[in-house]
C-alpha cells in the first residue's frame, strides 16, 4: 500500500464514502470531508486569496530560487516490468470517488448546464464543489501546495474518463485547470510554477484554461495563425483562439502561438490584459464547458510568459499536442461508457412485440459493437498515456488513439440515439446530448492536456 499523501486522502475518503455519514449528508458533505481529510493528510495549503491585487497570481520577479525536491514531480522510469492492465490502489479509489461524484453531482445538472440555463450562483456553487474535490492536487507537488508525487498523464486520463461519465461538458469545465497545471508541470520554469500553481490548490475554484484551437476549417496544431513576436523584452501576441473552456471565466490561460522564427510555442496570458477580448460562443454541444473565443489584439506579456527557454529548449510542441489529444480521447471514452450503460438499461426495459427490444439481434448486436469499439478506444488511450508517463515515445500511439476515438465515438453517439428511436431524438433522454458532444472529439484537441 502506498504511503503518499494522496493515497491517504483517497483511503480516508473511501472509508467515509462507505459510512453512514455519506448517506446522511450526500455529496456536498462528502466533498467537505475530502477537504478535512486532505488537510489532515498535509495535502493542502491555505488559499492565497487575500494576497492578490489585480491577479491572484503574484509577481515573483527577483525571487527565483531552485525548486526543492518537494516542489517538483518525479518522472516514472522507462519501460521494463510486465504488461499490466490493473490500476493502482490509489487510482481505483480515485475512480470510485469520481464516478460517484459524476453520478450524483454532474449527471443531474448536465441537461440544464448544456442548455446554458444555469444561473451564475449555481455555477459558482458547482465549481466550488469541484474545488473541494481537490482534482488539481494530483498534478501539483506537495511543496507547491498539492499532493502529487509523480507526473501522471494516466491520472488525468482516468479523471477525465470518470467525470465524463457524468457529463462531458461539466467534466471539461472541472478539469480545465488540470490541463493548465499539466502544461506547467511539463514545460514551466521554476518561477512560472511557483507563481501559478499554489493558488490553484486553494479551497476556491480558480478557473484557468488552455487555448490551442483556431477558427478555421483546416486547423493544424503544427501551424498556428496566432503570432507571437519579441517586443520590448517580452512578447506581443496577435490572433484568435476558439473552443477554449471557461473562456470568459478563466483568470489565466496557456495560449499557443507561432513564435517568429521558431514555430509553435506556449505563453502564459493573464486575463487582465487589456488587449485580450473574450467572447462566449455557443456550439453544437458542450455548453457546460463554457467554450469561447479569445481575441488577442496585441497582448503584451513579459519574458517570463514563455514556456520553455527562448531558444526552444525545454519545450516540445508535439508532446503538448499529443497530451492534449489524449484528453479528448479520455473524455470520449467516458461519454461512450455513459451511453453504453444507458442503452443497456433502456433496451432491457423497453418492450416491443411482447418482449424487451434487447432480445432482438439487431439491437443486441449494436450494443455489443458499442462495447467492442469502446474497449478498443479505452485501451488505446491508456496505452498512449502510460507510455507518456513512463517517458517512452508515444506519438504514434496517441495519434492512433485520437484517430480511433474521433471516428468510433461519433458512431457510438449515433448508435445511442438510434437505439432509443424517436425517444432518443428528444431531450427527455441524454443520448441526443451525447450525440452532440461526441461530434466534438477531433476538434477538442487542446482543451484538456493530460
Amino acid at each position: 500500500m502506498s504511503r503518499s499523501p494522496l493515497g491517504a486522502l483517497f483511503r480516508a475518503l473511501n472509508k467515509i464514502s462507505e459510512s453512514e455519514l455519506a448517506e446522511r449528508y450526500g455529496v456536498r458533505e462528502l466533498t467537505q470531508q475530502v477537504v478535512y481529510w486532505g488537510t489532515r493528510a498535509g495535502a493542502r495549503v491555505t488559499a492565497e486569496a487575500g494576497a492578490r491585487a489585480r491577479s491572484r497570481f503574484r509577481d515573483l520577479k527577483g525571487r527565483v530560487e531552485e525548486l526543492t525536491g518537494a516542489e517538483t514531480l518525479t518522472r516514472a522510469e522507462g519501460g521494463g516490468g510486465l504488461f499490466d492492465l490493473t490500476l493502482t490502489e490509489e487510482q481505483s479509489m480515485m475512480r470510485e470517488t469520481l464516478l460517484r461524484f459524476a453520478r450524483e453531482a454532474l449527471r443531474p445538472r448536465a441537461h440544464e448546464a448544456d442548455a446554458g440555463g444555469v444561473d451564475e450562483e449555481e455555477e459558482k456553487e458547482f465549481l466550488a464543489r469541484v474545488a473541494e474535490l481537490g482534482l488539481n492536487l494530483i498534478g501539483v507537488p506537495e511543496g507547491l501546495g498539492g499532493a502529487g508525487e509523480q507526473r501522471s498523464p494516466v491520472s488525468t486520463v482516468l479523471m477525465a474518463e470518470d467525470l465524463a461519465q457524468g457529463d462531458m461538458g461539466l467534466a471539461l469545465a472541472a478539469l480545465a485547470p488540470c490541463g493548465f497545471i499539466n502544461l506547467l508541470s511539463e514545460f514551466g520554469s521554476q518561477l512560472q510554477r511557483r507563481r501559478y500553481l499554489p493558488p490553484l490548490c486553494g479551497e476556491a475554484f480558480v478557473p484557468v484554461s488552455v487555448a490551442l484551437a483556431e477558427p478555421r476549417a483546416r486547423f493544424d496544431p503544427r501551424f498556428l495563425e496566432t503570432r507571437a513576436r519579441p517586443e520590448g523584452g517580452g512578447y506581443r501576441l496577435e490572433g484568435v483562439k476558439c473552443m477554449v473552456p471557461l473562456a470568459t471565466r478563466a483568470e489565466a490561460y496557456v495560449v499557443f502561438a507561432q513564435l517568429a522564427g521558431q514555430g509553435p510555442r506556449a505563453f502564459l496570458v493573464d486575463a487582465q490584459s487589456p488587449q485580450l477580448e473574450r467572447r462566449a460562443e455557443r456550439h453544437m454541444g458542450l455548453g457546460a464547458a463554457e467554450l469561447g473565443r479569445l481575441e488577442l489584439r496585441g497582448v503584451t506579456v513579459g519574458p517570463d510568459a514563455l514556456l520553455g527557454a527562448p531558444d526552444g529548449a525545454g519545450y516540445e510542441h508535439e508532446r503538448a499536442v499529443d497530451l492534449a489529444r489524449l484528453g479528448a480521447c479520455a473524455l470520449a471514452v467516458g461519454t461512450c461508457q455513459a451511453a453504453l450503460d444507458y442503452v443497456i438499461q433502456y433496451c432491457n426495459d423497453r418492450v416491443a412485440f411482447g418482449e424487451p427490444i434487447s432480445h432482438k439481434q439487431a439491437v443486441a448486436f449494436t450494443i455489443a459493437d458499442i462495447a467492442v469499439e469502446l474497449e478498443g478506444m479505452r485501451l488505446m488511450t491508456y496505452q498512449a498515456a502510460s507510455h507518456a508517463e513512463r517517458g517512452r515515445p508515444f506519438h504514434r500511439e496517441a495519434f492512433l488513439a485520437w484517430t480511433q476515438c474521433a471516428e468510433k465515438s461519433m458512431q457510438i453517439g449515433s448508435h445511442g440515439v438510434q437505439l432509443l428511436g424517436g425517444h432518443g431524438y428528444t431531450t427527455e433522454h441524454p443520448v441526443e446530448r451525447w450525440y452532440r458532444q461526441l461530434r466534438a472529439i477531433p476538434m477538442l484537441e487542446g482543451a484538456l492536456v493530460v
Binding site: 516490468g81 504488461f83 486547423f219 432480445h359 455489443a368 492512433l400
Partner: protein
Amino acid sequence: MLNFTMPKKLRAVATMARELGESLFRPISRKYDRAEHSYPVELDMLRAMIAGMDDGGQGVGAGGIARKPGEAARDGAQDEEAPAVRNGRNMASVLNVEALSWGDLGLLLTIPGQGLGNAALAAVATPEQRARFKGKWAAMAITEPEAGSDSAAIRTTARRDGDSWVLNGEKIFVTCGERADLIVVWATLDRDRGRAAIKSFVVEQGTPGFRVARLEHKLGIRASDTATLVFEDCRIPRENILGSEEIDVRKGFGGVMQTFDNTRPVVAAMALGVSRAALELARELLAREGVRADYTRGRWDASALEGELYRLEAELEASRLLTLKAAWMADNGRPNSREASMAKAKAGRTATEIALRCVELCGSLGYSERRLLEKWARDAKILDIFEGTQQIQLLIIARSLLHKSSRELR
C-alpha cells in the same frame, strides 16, 4: 499499474517467431496456396523444434494456449506490495501466433502437433491421457452438416458398450483432419438430454470404422487441410473420453465451451498477423508512390490514401490491445469469456477489412498473384468464421452485457 510494454522474455518469443515466419513460411507461402491438399513437408523439421519450445513453456501454434489455474505466479511479482501479475503462456501464444500468421496463416494452421485438439487435451486431459497422447497431433471435430454454430445440436452419438465407446456420425470442416494423429470428436451420449450429454472423445487415426471421406477446396488457407470425417460403428477404448462420463445437467455445456475462452484469443492473434502482413506491404508499395504515413499531418491534411492507412492501423491497434487483454486475463486467472469474444469479433472482422482494403489500395499489384496481398485477402475471411463466427461472438458479448440467457437472446 498500467504498463503496455512487453517484458523482454515475450519480446524474444515474438522476434523468434517473426524470423521463423519470414524465413520458413514466406518462401513457401504461394507454393502451398496453389498445391492445395499437399502436405508442406518443409514443416516436418519444425515439429521437433516446437516440442522443445513447448517443454520450455512457450506455446506455439493454434493449440498452444492453455490455462493452468494452479500454476504458481513465480514470474509475476512486480513488487512486494502489489498483487502479482503474470505474463504467461497465453500471452506468449498470442505473440507467437501473431508473428507466425504474419508469415503464413495456412501454414501456421498445419504445424504438426499444434491442432486445436491439442488445446482441448492440454485443458482437460487426465495425467494418464496426457502421457498416452504425448507428442501426438490432435485435430478437433465439432461441426456437422446440420450443426455449425449451434454445436449443441450435434447428432454424432457415442454409445457405451462394455469397455468401449461406439461412435456414429459425420463431421465436417475438421482442420488437419487428414494429417493429425488424433481427432478429438464431440458426440452426444443421449440426444434427448441436450448440452450436458455432449462429451469429447479421442479417436486415433486408423481406427476401424473411421475414415476421411473428403477434403474441401477452399477460398483461402489452402495449405491447411479441411476434412470430412465419417464414423461408422467406430469403436474406441472407454478411457478415451475427455472429462467425466456422467451427464451433469448443472455443469452442462460450460466445461466444453470454456476451451473457447482460451482459443479465441489465439484466433484473434492470427487475425492480427494477417492484418499486419497486409498493412505492411501496402504501406511499402504506397511509399514507392510517394505516399508518406509518418503521423505528422493532421488527419484533414493527409491524402485519402494516407488517411486510410491511419484508419486501418488504428483498427489493427484496437484489435491488438483487445487480444492482449483477453490473453492477459487468462494468464491472470480472470474469467475472460466476454473479452475473448470481443477480441475475436474485432480482430476477425478487422483482418478481413484490412486485407481486402489493402488489395484495393495497391490496385493491380494488390490483385495480382505476383504478390501475396490477394492471398491474404482470401485467407483473412476464415478468421471471421471459424472458432465462432462474428455473429456468434456478438451474441456472446451481448448476452453478457445485457444479462440475457441463450433462451432470451437467441
